[in-house]
């Protein structure tokens, strides 16, 4: 008898949204809940909480290592720490803002942001934003798996 191969359910990708604005965070969460890839969404509002989350410090002792960080432009100072702090440097970081400029994008890329995006102000735009993120990062690209963390 041949064993029937049942594909194992895909583990959700862990997405950490680091953004101080509650409204932006809620709209992002709403759009990301609709993507094809199963995703677990987490949220922090500032740089201190971001690193507490990554280091599983209180109150984030049970936090999962994120597969991707969506970083608000207001928290750009965290980018240098993220990309030089060795255990976390491979995690893709997408810098985003509603009004990000080309010059800010250039600076963020020079500091090793993986991509920069403008956050759409309307719901259809937000859906396209989330779908494009899903299509490239979670269904086309390979994300890093760090064996030590």
């Amino acid at each position: 008898m041949t064993a029937l191969k049942i594909p194992s359910p895909r583990a959700p990708v862990n997405i950490l949204i680091a953004h101080p604005d509650e409204d932006v965070m809620l709209r992002l969460q709403l759009a990301l809940r609709a993507i094809t890839t199963p995703a677990a969404l987490y949220h922090v509002k500032d740089e201190t909480s971001l690193f507490s989350f990554l280091r599983k410090a209180s109150p984030y002792e049970t936090a999962q290592r994120p597969d991707m960080i969506l970083l608000g432009c207001a928290l750009m100072a965290a980018l240098d720490r993220l990309k030089s702090d060795n255990p976390f440097s491979p995690i893709p970081v997408i810098v985003m803002a509603t009004d990000i400029t080309r010059d800010q994008s250039r600076q963020a890329h020079a500091r090793h942001a993986n991509a920069c995006m403008r956050i759409p102000s309307d719901t259809p735009g937000m859906r396209s934003f989330a779908a494009a993120l899903d299509g490239f990062w979670f269904r086309t690209a390979r994300l890093p798996v760090n064996p030590d963390v």
Partner: protein
């Protein structure tokens, strides 16, 4: 349902692709002919040629695709050189490889690759790749294009 958005980037987009297998380069070129965005592909055959291209051409590419395994200078070595150069380090680099090994993927992200993609092998896979590149990198991402882009 998602709606198409106007691209935040200036078109045509210039993509530099370093690939030592001519058939793979042609395959990619054919697939990008179907793209909705205006894309101009530039091909070189190894990492050393990428460095020479960046040093020589007045207009830097908007995106670089780097094959991992190339003669003279391989993908990771080339990536390190791009990231070490102040004038080039902002250019997004997508690594392309036949390898699915976690250590290869991690090594490229640690060297600050923007993304790592397993090489598409079939035409449907290649079309999916082109569509994903367009939808994210052309129509959503804000590329750090040069002011001279046109």
């Amino acid at each position: 349902m998602t709606v198409p958005m106007p691209s935040p980037n200036s078109e045509p987009l210039h993509i530099l692709y370093a690939e030592d297998q001519e058939a793979d380069a042609l395959f990619m070129e054919q697939a990008f002919l179907t793209a909705r965005a205006q894309v101009v592909m530039h091909f070189v055959t190894d990492g050393q040629a990428v460095v020479e291209y960046l040093a020589r051409e007045p207009r830097l590419p908007d995106l670089i695709f780097l094959d991992i395994n190339m003669m003279r200078k391989n993908g990771p070595q080339t990536l390190e050189e791009i990231r070490a150069n102040e004038g080039w380090r902002h250019i997004p680099v997508i690594m392309l490889s036949g390898s699915a090994l976690d250590r290869d993927v991690l090594g490229c992200y640690t060297r600050h690759a923007n993304a790592y993609v397993q090489k598409p092998l079939t035409f449907p896979e290649m079309m999916g790749f082109v569509q994903a590149i367009e939808n994210f990198w052309v129509f959503q991402a804000l590329l750090p294009q040069d002011a001279s882009s046109s």
